[in-house]
Symmetry: C2
């Protein structure tokens, strides 16, 4: 790496949505931008969370000068509680983001070790971190206090938009910092790292305010309780619910741990205003008539343990819904969640409640830029080169077409994958090599114990179940002493009314008999393999299924 | 059941989408409408297909006079190959539908036993079947030769729309039979059984022809091969591809078994026209340049073994895609399939191909009626009562609101579930009782062997894997002879770099030691339970996971 060259490596959040983390590296220094987590894909069975693989950073810990966080969403801050002990650099964030990070670090018992340095973007700070100077700029997004970063590097100015939209009427009144973006453009932007996840949408993303208009209509007509499920971090939406409730003389109860946490932090830090005191406790709600009540609840993505799901399943202690109640599912399902979300919506309709969801009204708007906004960002910053991020391959490809139409040469727009080592210098941006970057799975309280082999086994068990075959053989002769015994789980040994078990046992037993006495050594461990192969082909011939066969040969 | 009363029971296809089957019953006779199959839900692990539970019909087989089929989609005919042997009544269908049924019955070696009676809806036949007279009427849908039925019963005229839309410009030129529907209205319709699955869409569903316009634009611009994935039964779309290909001097190859079958049957029966001979074999395609070729392939729903998925995974023998190729995914994902469909679209983009999908162009239209068409159906038939079908609870609820707005009293619109026994007579429609109707799972070559218990086990194994603990004890004393031995699958015994196995074995061994010699009877089978409980709580305390514990105690 020559003197003026800078390395850029995404360890997550590119060619995928989730676990955002990238790093910039010179010979002496590294800075990290965001430290998020991801949610498992369908075939990652039993996994709770997925973290970026930070092996590359672990080996270079002494070089890490700072971690810059763009905003308080899980896919940008959620990795800190697990990975900060391996990074141990100061964390820079806006005030609300810092508040949300503190909650996580406190739970992870890291708060006394980690240093969080709060910056105020409106003061236009210039934060020095080794070879880098970082200038945050305000952006609109679906959580307050979001920023992007202008990063001055030895190879030139890199502008990272982070997640953004250009909301002309943001609920908190804080606009995207167009002026600073324009200044970056004047100074000359070497590289724009742009959000692209909402590129499928033409035009401009609607303002968050339109959701407030829907709320107003629903509140005006609702005869009984109103239950609104939305993202726990959507403080602007909570604000609009509080405001609408005040106008209709209703009180608001929040239910669900992440929502309660976020509302508490946002209120303490002044990001949520409740001038009329409409926020009340669940206990205080008991004394109010149904038409005086609004519940904001978690679970808008169909999460099975969240409040909305429990309400729909009639499994929530405080809230049951039925005739007269109105439920607003104020979100659109993230791809992969459709089935669970619609299952809940169906259950709510079945209970007799009125259900307002995305197909019926404008109950949700995206926090991300549509095509016109993405082009405007390019026009403001006038970059030499672009890397689209925070999208899957289809988003990267559509963004590339859009940027080409906006006048950027195709060869200056880079489709990058996790682990690509990019080198940026005078000449431009090049992929130099490819790191071997894996998945790090979180399961319960443990990190990194689940391997790909374990996931393969889970998938096999999920599809076909298992057949365990246990046999005791004489250590000397190999003669069967007891067994074979067969135990199955997730697999039926019955076919057309017949239990295949006795026949399978006979079949395995005669195979074993043929082997008895053939070994002088008395090592019968190979019999396990024989049992597995014999049983597998015998079962496949009769059932066309391939259950996992677990032979256990005990020598006595 | 009084003389003029009729029973109506849905054994599938109501408050759900899939496995359509309902029956009408008088004292003497039963007729069945449709015999479909369903696809498993996410948590029905390892299941290939789901069938309606026809126990009620099995007990009344002697009364079954006929099976009337509306159209050739899997969710309306797919159950016949499995269930016809239990029904053994003549099957009534239109010519194309009969052709598609024959393929299935032939594969199931039932063709020589089953009797298929073909009717021509344009002849306005009146088919007598015991106490019922059935009058088919043509409807537009996403497969040719679709019909609904006017069914004259002792309790009055029932009109079943089946799946329908009002396409003003159908590709095959065959309109919905508005005239007969109007005649039914004049005669007086007791009950309308209406499709409602597309009720979330306002206005009118676009004509299938608009997809042909998109094809025209794509064909005009595509530099190389064109690959189009769509539903195998969408003959009208295949026709439009053939027509467009002829205009652009391209040849068409079909890939995928279900598509090839359907195209063959439709061509033989005259439902598909290829006047220019553009359909060619894969072998003939080898001699043509890329810009002369169109492939129609299966797998538009992301099915992992279908052609599109194999192409995207670079796992297809004849077709690999890359730079210069254009892929049209001419379908929208059915809820639950989004993840697999988008994964494939991402892979195709990654290969360098141009990919046209629902977010980019009008590549698919629904085969079902939108709100205006649903209202028009009500206006044409002017029913006394309505049962919305072919939708989940949210569709039933939205349809009910729509029908109320169209002037039908709310109490005359019935939300019905699978197994509800409806009695229809002079007085109206009432739910009399509720049958106990379950799921019948098809897995590989076998039906009905997978139970709910097996599915629960699979789910547990999928999430947490399993730990098998085997021990040999002395039959007399209960003393451990060998073991405990631990084998795991889908579960890791490692935590923070330590293998927990030896400690678990010690823990189980000391528990067993404490029990040794305590039983006179020498019955040690209860030790299995003890091992399970001991190991489960020991593991949960250390891992917060609940793997399935499989103890095996062998007495020697």
């Amino acid at each position: 790496m020559s003197g003026a060259a800078v390395r850029l490596i995404f360890l997550g959040g590119i060619a995928e949505v989730g676990k955002n983390l990238f790093l910039l590296e010179t010979e002496r220094d590294i800075i990290i931008v965001d430290c998020g987590l991801g949610f498992p894909e369908e075939d990652q069975l039993g996994i709770d969370l997925v973290l970026p693989d930070i092996s590359y950073l672990r080996e270079r810990r002494a070089k890490i000068r700072a971690i810059f966080i763009t905003h308080g969403h899980e896919d940008h801050i959620g990795g800190l509680a697990y990975l900060w002990p391996d990074l141990r650099a100061p964390i820079y964030a806006t005030r609300l983001t810092a508040g949300l990070i503190e909650v996580k670090l406190k739970e992870a018992k890291l708060l006394d070790q980690a240093e969080i340095r709060v910056f105020e973007p409106d003061e236009r700070p210039r934060i020095e971190a080794g070879d880098f100077t970082v200038e945050p700029f305000r952006v609109c997004h679906s959580i307050p206090d979001s920023v992007g970063f202008g990063i001055t590097t030895p190879a030139g100015l890199i502008v990272h938009t982070s997640d953004f939209k250009f909301d002309p009427t943001p609920v908190d009144g804080k606009q995207t910092d167009f002026e600073l973006l324009g200044q970056f453009g004047d100074r000359g932007v070497k590289l724009l790292v742009s959000d692209c996840v909402h590129v499928e949408a033409t035009g401009t993303t609607p303002s968050e305010r339109v959701v407030g208009e829907t709320y107003d209509q629903v509140f005006a007509a609702a005869p009984g309780r109103i239950i609104i499920a939305t993202f726990a971090s959507l403080i602007a939406r909570v604000q609009q619910i509080i405001d609408t409730a005040a106008r209709y003389d209703r009180r608001v109860v929040t239910l669900g741990r992440s929502l309660e946490n976020n509302v508490r932090v946002a209120t303490e830090l002044g990001y949520l205003q409740d001038p009329n005191g409409v926020l009340i406790s669940p206990r205080a709600a008991k004394d109010l008539d149904d038409n005086r009540l609004v519940y904001i609840v978690t679970g808008s993505q169909g999460e099975p343990m969240a409040v909305l799901s429990r309400i729909a399943n009639r499994d929530h202690r405080e809230v049951t819904v039925g005739e007269g109640d109105t439920v607003i599912v104020s979100a659109t399902p993230i791809p992969g969640n459709e089935t669970s979300v619609f299952r809940i919506i169906n259950q709510l309709f079945r209970s007799g409640a009125e259900v307002i969801y995305s197909a019926r009204a404008l109950v949700h708007v995206s926090g991300h830029a549509s095509q016109d906004e993405l082009v405007r960002m390019i026009e403001l910053t006038r970059p030499e080169e672009i890397i689209p991020t925070h999208g899957e391959h289809r988003h990267l490809a559509l963004y590339t077409d859009l940027a080409v139409a906006a006048g950027i040469p195709r060869e200056r727009i880079h489709t990058v994958e996790i682990g690509d080592v990019l080198e940026i210098d005078e000449a431009g941006v090049r992929i130099r090599e490819q790191l071997d970057v894996g998945y790090v799975y979180v399961e319960g309280v443990t990190i990194g114990t689940v391997t790909d082999e374990i996931l393969r086994d889970r998938k096999a068990l999920a599809n076909d179940g298992m057949v365990m075959i246990v046999v005791n053989v004489d250590r000397e002769t190999g003669l069967v002493m007891t067994g074979p015994d067969v135990v199955t789980r997730g697999f039926s040994m019955h076919r057309n009314g017949t239990d295949l078990t006795p026949e399978l046992c006979d079949h395995v037993a005669s195979m074993l008999e043929a082997h008895a006495g053939t070994q002088d050594s008395g090592d019968w461990s190979y019999l396990g393999r024989e049992i597995r192969e014999t049983a597998a082909s015998w079962l496949y011939a009769r059932t066309r299924r391939r259950p996992m066969i677990l032979p256990m040969v005990l020598e006595i």
